[in-house]
Amino acid sequence: MSTEKTHADREEGNGPVRVAIADDSALFREGLAMLLTAAGAEVVAQAGTADDLIRGLGRSRPDAVILDIRMPPTFTDEGLVAAERIRAEHRAIAVLVLSTYAETPYALRLLGDGGGGGLGYLLKDRVDDVGALQDALRRVIDGRLVLDEEIVAGLLAHRRRADELARLTPRERMVLAHMAEGRSNQGIGARLHLAPKTVENHIAGVFSKLGMPASADDNRRVLAVLTWLRNAAAGPGQPGAAAGTSAGTSSVITPGTHSTSGPGHQSGFSPFG
């Protein structure tokens, strides 16, 4: 760990952002590398499997890795497992997971691992927008959480909390969506062309209307929003939700311990606890 750069080191350095890519599709990998290069990043490593990528991390020393989820050998969740390993072994490296499918359970498994920021989950489709990709990369390198808008839209569209969400103004709903996507007050303001003060007012409105505890920390705020939305998606009051046993049906996003055996293997833990 001592050999790795910290966020502070990188901020001091003036070089381009160093990115490593793992994806078993050579075509997509090459295209992504070209795109990133064109956008001013330095692609320091490319690998067809997560293991190859992790093995080369000590040498390539990227600021961020971009991981596909389905990779050899089992084509299931190699990317998620690799993300967990990288975050455990190389804390300074930000992880951006790109997936063909926007699967809420995966996103929540990834973001709910309690390891803090520097983590993102985006749909692969976003690669057609260099700006969005750059933005996401920058945000994860800055230690923030990033979540694809399609997942957030899915969570917001869920019926269970439709009544409560209906109490929000359209503007407040947009602010909520951006919070869930992992944007800071400043980022939200820039996206919605709002003054910081206005953004803060909207956020306060959202938190009070939905009865969510406010949090100053951006990443905790993302998790709080996601937890609220996720509970909405799975429904409250189910057996096992409170106990949070691994065999139960808890749907709470639970930062803290994480497991590689399945998206549902989460122990009960409040992000505010």
Binding site: F28, A39, T100, Y106, D128, T249, G262
Partner: protein, 588 residues
């Protein structure tokens, strides 16, 4: 001993006309017995009547046993016994050949009895020991009798010595005669003891069924032998019209012999009835194991085994269902082959080697079990075919799942990645483009590409959701229910199941929810999945209008097929206006 032609024909005739045979034989025997003892009726009427009863009992038992397979010589011995016993009492006439007839008849009666019993129940002597014993008895007793008459006076035998009574021989000294008599009495005891040993040896070798049949007869005869040989020490043989109490005792004991035979015959009849009864109470469809248990119980043979022929699989299975070839025809066991009504191979039944003696009973049992076994064979054949169908259906389901996953993977690895690579190139082109027209063309292409990717994704997800293989039922259901316009509560464990079951459960639940959305007009639905004791139970309930019925080719019928393909069962409860509850139980 081979039956002479005439007795065999007589026996067959008697068996055909049993009532006549019983009536005529009984009357003749009674008349003969009364004639033989006519003088004795004056002195000891009760004892004489008892003797008539003994003779009648022997004759009637013989008539009853006649027709029983392998008992020809036993019947003959009984008939002879019934004849000889009254003749033993002709001494009372005290005239002519009465003394000689009485002496010969009495001694030969016992030889005849031993011969008959030793030939029971198989009609054959079992080994050389028995042959020697019977040979010695047949030789010694008549010869000794002839010799004794030759060296004694009628008075020494207890006869009156009336000058009209025929006699022969040259008497020796009374003392020497007594010594010879004592020696012969001792020899009789030895013979009785040897008989006891032979019987004991037999009982040991016999199967349980034979033991049960033979024991009463052997015991009755032994009792009579012991009593007679004991009496023999005091009284040589019946000698006058006055019948002593010792002979009354012997007569009473002798009565038990036909009774024992009758009991044995009844026991065989009872065994047959028991076979029929046991087979009648077999469960339906009859399990081969149950048929075997019935056979074993009825035949008292715990080694009896049924080898059922399975025509579809071309091999035999034993009653426990294990593949096992039956013993070859030359094996020690009693092996019987059973065929179906149409002559096709049905089963081979093997019984203990000792059961050969009761081949008739085994055959009766085998015949009685034929129908049950035919049913069992049919059942086993159908079950095997059903298993084969089930297995092939399971393979089809698995192949279908495999194919879906392959398709989805092909889409993912092929078209989707190509389009995504194209997206990177469009993104790259967009960064390079400066001309507004080019930019707008790229934007349009990008928009089209996004739609294409979304369509492809939805297509791939419909073919097989990747999240199902990767994360299991729960995350897959979370994804699919999030997009539904109905509020769905999920009570689904995160535990993983077999891929085929997960896929089956997933599509079942999806179809059920589709029905709920399309037809039920429900506002809420609940999906519960429970795993208990090898069964996964899926409940999909909604608060809709109910009244759902499965129609041919409809969605619910398709659901039923899907669940059945996994070996499960589907129950739909949908009262009008009371919501719909769909329960699928699938073994895992």
């Amino acid at each position: 001993m081979p039956h002479p032609h005439l007795p065999a024909r007589l026996s067959a005739c008697a068996a055909r006309h049993r009532p006549w045979c019983l009536a005529i034989g009984g009357t003749a025997t009674a008349a003969g017995a009364i004639a033989c003892q006519w003088p004795a009726f004056g002195h000891s009427p009760l004892a004489a009547t008892l003797n008539v009863v003994v003779a009648l009992a022997f004759a009637l038992t013989a008539a009853m046993l006649n027709g029983e397979e392998s008992l020809g010589s036993v019947t003959a011995a009984l008939v002879l016994g019934g004849l000889l016993w009254p003749l033993s009492w002709t001494a009372g006439w005290d005239a002519g050949p009465s003394a000689l007839v009485s002496t010969f008849a009495y001694t030969h009666f016992w030889v005849c009895l031993g011969w008959g019993v030793l030939r029971y129940p198989t009609g054959r002597l079992q080994n050389n020991g028995e042959r020697v014993l019977l040979g010695v008895a047949v030789l010694v007793i008549p010869l000794a009798n002839l010799g004794l008459i030759g060296i004694g006076r009628p008075e020494w035998f207890g006869y009156s010595g009336h000058p009209d009574v025929w006699w022969y021989g040259e008497p020796i000294g009374h003392g020497a005669f007594d010594a010879v008599v004592w020696t012969l009495d001792g020899l009789t005891l030895v013979l009785a003891a040897a008989f006891l040993l032979v019987v004991r040896g037999r009982l040991r070798r016999y199967s349980e069924l034979d033991r049960r049949i033979f024991r009463p007869v052997a015991l009755a005869l032994l009792l009579a032998f012991v009593l007679a040989s004991t009496v023999n020490f005091f009284v040589y043989n019946p000698s006058d019209a006055d019948i002593g109490p010792e002979f009354v005792a012997i007569s009473l004991t002798l009565l038990t012999i036909p009774l024992a035979f009758a009991a044995a015959v009844l026991r065989r009849v009872f065994v047959r009835a028991r076979i029929a009864q046991l087979l009648a109470t077999l469960p339906t469809p009859p399990a081969v194991r149950a048929v075997r248990a019935a056979l074993r119980a009825a035949l008292h043979d715990d080694s009896a085994e049924i080898y059922l022929w399975l025509p579809g699989e071309d091999h035999h299975v034993d009653a426990d269902g294990a593949v096992r070839p039956p013993p070859p025809p030359g094996a020690a066991e009693l092996v019987m082959t059973l065929r179906t009504a149409t002559g096709a191979p049905l089963a081979v039944i093997a019984a203990a080697p000792a059961m050969r003696r009761n081949r008739d009973l085994v055959e009766a049992a085998v015949r009685a079990s034929a129908l049950a076994l035919e049913n069992a064979q049919l059942h086993a054949t159908v079950a095997a075919q059903l298993d084969a169908v089930r297995a092939s259906r399971a393979r089809l389901v698995e192949a279908g799942l495999h194919e879906r996953r392959r398709l989805e993977r092909d889409l993912h690895d092929g078209a989707q990645q190509r389009l995504l690579a194209l997206a990177t190139r469009l993104g790259l082109a967009r960064t390079k483009a400066t001309d507004p027209d080019t930019i707008s063309a790229i934007e349009a292409a990008r928009e089209d590409l996004r739609h294409a990717l979304a369509d492809l994704r939805s297509l791939a997800r419909g073919i097989h959701p990747a999240v199902l293989s990767q994360g299991g039922l729960r995350p897959a259901l979370e994804v699919v229910t999030a997009a539904l316009p109905v509020e769905v509560e999920l009570d689904v464990p995160v535990a993983r199941f077999e891929a085929v079951l997960e896929a089956g459960a997933y599509y079942t639940i999806c179809e059920a929810l589709t029905n709920t959305v399309k037809h039920a007009g429900a506002s809420r639905a609940r999906v519960a999945v429970r795993h208990d004791d090898g069964i996964v139970r899926i409940d999909v309930t909604d608060d809709g209008k109910g009244g759902a019925t499965a129609v041919e080719g409809g969605g619910l019928a398709g659901l039923d097929d899907r669940v059945r393909a996994l070996g499960g069962a589907l129950v739909i409860v949908s009262p009008s206006g009371g919501g719909t509850r769909l329960t699928a139980s699938i073994p895992c």
